[in-house]
Symmetry: C2
Subunit: 345 residues, 2 copies
DNA sequence: TTGTATGCGTTATCAC
DNA sequence: GTGATAACGCATACAA
C-alpha cells in the first residue's frame, strides 16, 4: 500500500502507471478476471463484469505491461521489420503499410535497418535486438544475411519473408526486369543492356532483374544484354557508356536498376552528344520525384506499395493466426507495378 | 528441475535461453552475485569470482532478459529514435550514427517514423510504443508534435532533442539558410528568393531557413527574398518561376529547401529559355546523389552527419550518465556543413 | 565477499 | 463464473 496508483492527483507527471491490480480493485474483481477480460476471453463472464472491467481499465488508462507479459509468455508482442539499406524513396510508405498490418494482428511494429557496409555490426545489432526483445516475429524485406536467418531459426524466432508455405510467391524482381525489357522492345529498341549500380553493396536486387532481362532477350532471340556498372558520378558514367557503345551500336536501350542509374546514363548520353531517347533509351525503377522534374522526364516503373507488399502481408497473417486469410489476396506483378511513360524511351 | 538449460543437447534449436540462475549454478555462486557482476558492480568481488561468472555467462551464451529487467526496473533499455517524414537521402546514415551512440551508452536503439499525413495515427503509435516498451528515452529529430512531447512528459519518459540544459544548441536550420544566402551573394547575385516545397507537410525546416535568408537580406540591405512555393512537377514549377520573374527580374538566385526543389527550378528555367546559372541560380541542401549526375551539376550544402548530430549525441550522453562528456564537442555550423560548388551558381 | 528474500506485472492452472 | 496462487527472470536491500 506504499504507492497509490493515482495518488497525488497529478501535479502533471510522474504518476505510476496503472497495473492490473489497480484495475481489479477498481472493478471489484480479481487480477485473473481482469487478465481474462482484457484478453478477450469473455465467453465465461457475465456481461456486467466484462463491462465493469473494461470501464475501469479505460478510466485508469491501463495498458498491459509489455515487460510482465513478455516475461510470462517467453516472447514479446513486437514484430521487427528489417529493411535493407537500399534507399528507395518510399521506404517510409513501406514502413507505414507494414506497420499498420502488424497492428491489425494485435502486435507492435519496430523498425530495424540493415547496414551492408558493416555487415557484422548489423548482424550483431539484430541479434542483440532479437535476444533482448524476443519479438514474436521478424519480417525480412531483404536486409537479412543467411547467417542472420540461421540465427533466427536457432533461437526459434518466427521469420516472415513472403516465401511462406503454399502460394508460390510472386517474384517481383524478375517481373520488374521483364517489364522493363518488354517495354523497351515494344518501343522498338533492338539492342538491350542492363544498368547496375557500380557499388554492388547498394544493389540487392540488381542481379535478379538483370537475369530477367537476359531471359527475355534469349526468348526473343535478341543479343544478350550488355551489363553496365554505372558509377554515380558524371565522368565515370560517361566512361562506362563510352566504352559500351562501340560494342552495341545505337540505338541502345538500357533497363536500369533504379531511377538514379537511368538519370546518370541519360546525362552521360547528352554529354556525349547523343540524343535521348533516339540514340539512348533508359527506363528506371522507383518513380522517384527527381525523375519527374527533369527534361527529358524519366520513363520508369512505379510500385503500388500495398499491393507489392501483399505477399508479405499474407505471410504475416498466416504466421499469426490467419484470421484475415480470406480478405487477403496476393497481387500479381501486373497489379503491383506499372510503367510510367516519360520521355526517355 | 523440470527443464534443463542445455538439456537435449541441441538438435539445432528450441533450447530454452540460459537464465541468470543457470549462470549462477555454472559459476558456483548465487544469482545475486551474477547480477552484480554482470552489471559491472565488480568492486566488491574477488577477481576470480568475477572471471568465473563472466566465463560462465559467455559459455552459456547468457543474455539478460529484457523482460525481467524491464519489469523490475520500471523501464526498458530501449531508446526510441523518432524521425520526421522528411526524406533526406541519408536518413539511414543518421540512424546509423545515432544507433551506435545509443549502444555506446549501453542502450538499444529502436526506430520510429513520423507520418505527418496521419498525425493522429502516428501519435497513437508512438504513444502505444512508449506505453508498452517503456523506453529509457526518446530522441526527437523533428518528428514530434507538441502534443507528443506533452505526453512524454506526462508519463515521465526522458526526451532528448539537443535543446538540453546548458550549451546553447546550434541552430542548424538558421545556419543553413544563412550559408545559402551568403554563398549566393558572394557569387554576385543581387536578388535572392527562397524556394519552399509547395506541400508544407513535407517541409518541417523550411520556414526557419527562409527566415535566415530574409534576415541576411535585411542585414545586407537587399530586397527581402520572394517566397516561391515549388510543386514537384514540371508544369507547376514552371508556372511558379514564370510568375516570380517579372517581380524580381534576372538574374535571380534561389536558396532552396532541398536539392529536389533546386532541380525543379533549374529545369523550369531551362524550359523557359533561361540560362542556368546566368539568369537563374539555385542552391539546394542535401548533396543528394541525383544532383551530381545531372548537367548542370547542382550547387548544394552537404552535411557532415556525425558532426551535425553532435548536439544530440551530447544531449544523449548528458541524459544517461554523461560518462563521455569530455570527449564530446558540439560542432559549429561551419564544421557541420559545407558548400558543394556545382554549376548552378 | 557472498547469499537470502522479496517484488516487479502478467498469465495459466486449478480450486471453488 | 470467479478467485487464489504459482511461476516467469531479474535487481536489490539486507543479512550473514
Amino acid at each position: 500500500m506504499s504507492r497509490q496508483p493515482t495518488g497525488e492527483d497529478a501535479p502533471s507527471g510522474r504518476a505510476r502507471p496503472a497495473t492490473s491490480a489497480d484495475v481489479a480493485r477498481a472493478a471489484g474483481v480479481s487480477r485473473a478476471t481482469v487478465s481474462h477480460v482484457l484478453n478477450n476471453q469473455v465467453e465465461r463472464f457475465s456481461a456486467e463484469t466484462v463491462e465493469r472491467v473494461r470501464d475501469a481499465a479505460l478510466s485508469l488508462g491501463y495498458v498491459r505491461s509489455a515487460a510482465g507479459r513478455a516475461l510470462v509468455m517467453g516472447r514479446s508482442d513486437f514484430v521487427v521489420l528489417v529493411l535493407p539499406y537500399t534507399t528507395f524513396t518510399n521506404v517510409q510508405d513501406v514502413i507505414e503499410v507494414l506497420s499498420s498490418e502488424v497492428e491489425k494482428i494485435g502486435l507492435s511494429p519496430v523498425v530495424h535497418f540493415s547496414v551492408p557496409r558493416a555487415q557484422t555490426a548489423t548482424s550483431r545489432r539484430l541479434q542483440h535486438m532479437v535476444e533482448t526483445l524476443r519479438p514474436a516475429g521478424v519480417v525480412d524485406l531483404g536486409g537479412l544475411s543467411p547467417h542472420d536467418i540461421a540465427f533466427l531459426d536457432e533461437v526459434g524466432c518466427m521469420l516472415v519473408n513472403g516465401e511462406g508455405q503454399g502460394q508460390q510467391q510472386p517474384d517481383y524482381n524478375t517481373a520488374i526486369g521483364d517489364f522493363q525489357a518488354r517495354h523497351l522492345r515494344a518501343r522498338g529498341y533492338p539492342t538491350l543492356a542492363y544498368g547496375f549500380l557500380s557499388d554492388a553493396r547498394d544493389d540487392p536486387y540488381g542481379q535478379m532483374r538483370a537475369d530477367a532481362v537476359a531471359a527475355y532477350c534469349a526468348q526473343e532471340r535478341l543479343a544478350p544484354p550488355l551489363y553496365l556498372r554505372v558509377p554515380l558520378e558524371q565522368e565515370g558514367a560517361r566512361k562506362v557508356l563510352e566504352e559500351a557503345l562501340p560494342r552495341t551500336g545505337v540505338p541502345l536501350a538500357v533497363a536500369c536498376y533504379n531511377d538514379l542509374v537511368a538519370l546518370a546514363l541519360a546525362d552521360a548520353a547528352k554529354s556525349l552528344g547523343l540524343d535521348v531517347p533516339r540514340d539512348l533509351a533508359v527506363i528506371g525503377v522507383e518513380y522517384a520525384p527527381f525523375g519527374q522534374v527533369i527534361t527529358p522526364r524519366l520513363t520508369t516503373i512505379a510500385a503500388d506499395v500495398p499491393v507489392s507488399l501483399s505477399h508479405i502481408i499474407q505471410a504475416l497473417d498466416e504466421g499469426f493466426g490467419g484470421f484475415r486469410a480470406s480478405e487477403i489476396r496476393v497481387g500479381t506483378a501486373e497489379e503491383a507495378f506499372r510503367i510510367v511513360q516519360g520521355e526517355t524511351t
